[in-house]
Symmetry: C2
Subunit: 255 residues, 2 copies
């Protein structure tokens, strides 16, 4: 049985300001909730239909509320609610350890679309990139649309929000900083290292001017259209991220 207060509370968490205030977010569906339950995230409460609870063993320190399908509909943000919704604590932002510079790190400069951020987190997970650093003006990773679009990868990728100018200024001098730019060099002709920073720009504006001076290696995904009057102007930010990450990993493992 759901109280009016809990329904109100959960629906409020669809808004950034209430997530900030309560430091909680929601995640829905069997796959996502199951992955969060086996991660380091702290699950505050599970709201699930009997059918789901019957086949999942939940740790004793997680509160459980059995709900009906129609109750689940009242708290769900999905068009078709999917058996379970978890109320999850937003983890404290950790300070950035210097050891992450031994690996590839994605830096996102104002990704605004929730689907793009969720997809980029899923791509990072696939390619074994465990750290993403976002500008403070990027979409919130705990926005329900981002959480759902990660398909569970949010449980395995660390996401930080920082002032990117300060972050990039403090990168050790020997760490390459790659950026994808329209006036960059063909990625397929460039040396790519196994560690370093890869900056992905905003969906329409690209990488912001104040970050350009930090880039040591400008990259460009070549355009293969056969006739020169082709006007395809850009690739979606998450598509570009996928192609770039795939090429870095191909070089490291299969070139």
């Amino acid at each position: 049985m759901l109280s009016k207060n809990i329904i109100k509370h959960i629906n409020a968490l669809k808004q950034n300001k209430f997530r900030d205030e309560f430091q909680e977010f929601i995640a829905e569906g069997d796959k996502l909730v199951t992955e969060l339950l086996s991660s380091n995230f702290k699950i505050i409460e599970i709201f699930a239909v009997k059918e789901w609870l019957d086949i999942h063993k939940i740790s004793d320190n997680v509160a459980i509320t059995e709900v009906t399908v129609s109750e689940l509909e009242r708290i769900s943000g999905l068009i078709t609610p999917n058996m379970v919704l978890a109320l999850v604590e937003i983890p404290q932002q950790q300070s950035i350890d210097t050891f992450i510079f031994e690996k590839l790190i994605l830096v996102l400069d104002e990704i605004k679309d929730p689907g793009n951020l969720g997809t980029i987190i899923r791509i990072a997970d696939w390619f074994g990139i465990s750290d993403i650093v976002c500008s403070k003006h990027s979409v919130d990773v705990y926005n329900p649309k981002v959480v759902q679009a990660t398909m569970g990868s949010i449980a395995r990728v660390n996401i930080q929000y920082v002032d990117l100018s300060i972050f990039l200024k403090n990168i050790p001098k020997d760490i390459p900083i790659y950026g994808t730019l329209l006036n960059g060099e063909n990625i397929y002709n460039q040396t790519l290292s196994e560690n370093g920073i890869i900056i992905i720009g905003n969906e329409s504006k690209g990488i912001s001017n104040e970050l350009l001076p930090f880039i040591t290696n400008k990259l460009y995904i070549p355009f293969f259209a056969e006739n020169s009057n082709n006007k395809a102007e850009s690739l979606n930010a998450s598509i570009a991220t996928a192609i770039v990450c795939a090429e870095f990993k191909r070089r490291a493992f299969f070139a």
Copy 2:
């Protein structure tokens, strides 16, 4: 001034059955409409605000209706209507010319998500792939969400809907048929040709069983996560398409 009938007609075109009946679709926004105007598509009518009409010269054989912002809102499918909406004739489906086998062709086996199909068309355009062949159960390319997601690339990529079993059965024997499969071979270790078919499967079910026997080269995008308990299970269909297309073109041009 918009009549009730035209408002009703345009809104009806958001549904598949009315697009089928009238053989018309709608496209919105400056970039998309401008690209369609300079393509082979037949534009039936333009509905645009004065500001847009003032700076665009439209051919005499296209009907033009000046609308107010609030009138545009009544016919638009966008959250924020964008100056212009075009009523466009659905082109007759051409028969498939055999010459397309000299190039790369994307075959989509039941892509269901409009955003995915739109994004795949945009990827094809970027990589110079001018032919996409879809199964008859794929989402309709003239669905407004697909049209918008192509960002104009719909004007440059030919999309056909066919019975894929029949299509693949009639492919010349020397044309390789690639498919992305979980049990495929690492794409980075395989020979990739400059022409051939690349089959992309449905978002959740992958490539359907009846098409598997046609595949001559099974491909897999390797999973690079560092620890084996990582559970990232798949890449989004459009992300996988991008990575595969990029690798085919890299081999042809830069390897």
